[in-house]
Symmetry: C2
Subunit: 247 residues, 2 copies
DNA sequence: GAGTGGTCTAGACCACGAG
DNA sequence: TCGTGGTCTAGACCACTCA
């Protein structure tokens, strides 16, 4: 059977998980060294390390080379609200995010050109937004806007995620459509290091394309959230006079 | 630097990945045995196995105990369309899914009661839908409906996902709201075995709550898709009644 | 029983972080 | 320099599949 009995690795992971979840090991605390733990559980170092890898995969511990293994602080969950009305307005608790923005003038190519439905080499403005919640990185957004619609300047750092992105949103012509594709994938190496997550931890990736009434794409956004503490919520209101099918 | 050079494990994974992606190793084909590969790459068995674990994490190979390692057939992507109008209508290619449905009469409790906004022990009907695309499991849906709204009987097996779920949808009173929460998480042991994915591979989990015009919850659905080949798309149409269209 | 993958060991060596 | 985690080895033993 699958996982019917605990391997030693699972047993150790279970014990440590229990200690963390019950608070016996506190957030931020350093675990005993791997050789210590290995001898304590009477297993070899690779076995102990595979147990720690399980906990790392669950987001319970963080491994720091040369320093030790640490209990991760429980992270506030990010809730992304879809629908485009207020693109990145989070719950009040999330409003205190600190955001750094890097702006660049680029030209469309490849997938991006297709996504924005513009010819290759069309002028765009790229905003790379990295938001932090205190120490820990919380999300990464790459936002592309046709250059003629882009604001002349954007502050490089902001204490409010809402402020910045709402600012961008205001510049848009009235929106007609927002299409958001949500997928799960492994982070790129860059994303993993920027978001400080293991490269084995999946991210929640949202590709958002906003079009105006004329069908022109006014914004394409590639949003990446650490999968272990992010949700996306979409709410749809229906008219009561439904026809048979709607699509 | 982080990952600046390839470890032996990564190098092997890269080589095998290349062989798979270029078609030198074909879908369904069995890889040489682990001892064979280990000696071929001049590494030890654990090192080789960690390389295979990487590929397994990427969904490129499937390990079958006692038989060997096999190149996975590329799976058709699942596209879940949000908004609730036609809950599970996929692209035409996906319409050929085979679905097995298990129906049970249960009573609300805990999270489920809260989700459906009904008192504990309220009578519900549960539909557990497992859809297959050919051999491979494609998605798992647990759908809960107040028992007085549930159809008297549902076919236990269907060749069309659309037919079954549309059938359920038709029984609903006109919908007023659909709320869909998308998250990423590791599968439960049950989900991993049912969907035939590794327990380390994240799934795309969608919690969908549908309410009617009176605010009553007419359906709660817990949908689980293998994260490696599923997307969810949400499209929002906005009214343009604020200002005139301009470009 | 032969061959496969799954788990584990005991120890070597390397790379990183802090004093 | 020292202690930490990161990677790797060579081989043992077990569990599963199939003939």
């Amino acid at each position: 059977m699958i996982g019917s009995v605990s391997s030693r690795c699972d047993a150790i992971a279970g014990d440590l998980r229990n200690q963390i979840l019950t608070g016996r090991l506190k957030a931020g605390e350093r675990l005993r060294s791997e050789p210590d733990l290995a001898s304590h559980y009477a297993v070899s170092k690779p076995t102990l390390r595979s147990a720690l890898a399980v906990l790392q995969g669950e987001g319970l511990i963080e491994k720091i080379h040369g320093k030790g293994n640490f209990v991760r602080r429980p992270l506030r969950r990010i809730t992304y609200r879809g629908g485009g009305a207020m693109p990145d307005v989070h719950t009040p608790a999330d409003a205190a995010l600190r955001v750094t923005i890097r702006t660049a003038k680029i030209r469309a190519r490849g997938h991006l050109a297709a996504l924005m439905n513009v010819p290759a080499r069309s002028p765009l403005t790229e905003f790379v937004c990295l938001s932090h919640d205190g120490e820990s990185p919380h999300s990464l957004a790459r936002i592309y806007v046709p250059r003629d619609l882009a604001p002349a300047s954007v502050p490089e750092e902001s204490t409010s995620y809402v402020g910045v992105v709402a600012n961008l949103a205001e510049l848009h012509p009235p929106l007609a459509n927002v299409r958001e594709k949500v997928s799960v994938r492994l982070p790129t190496q860059e994303e993993a290091s920027v978001l400080r997550i293991g490269s084995a931890w999946a991210v929640l990736a949202i590709t958002r394309v906003m079009t105006d009434a004329a069908g022109r794409v006014v914004e394409a956004a590639l949003l990446v959230f650490p999968g272990d503490h992010a949700d996306a919520v979409f709410t749809t209101h229906h008219q009561i006079d439904r026809r048979g099918t709607e699509e």
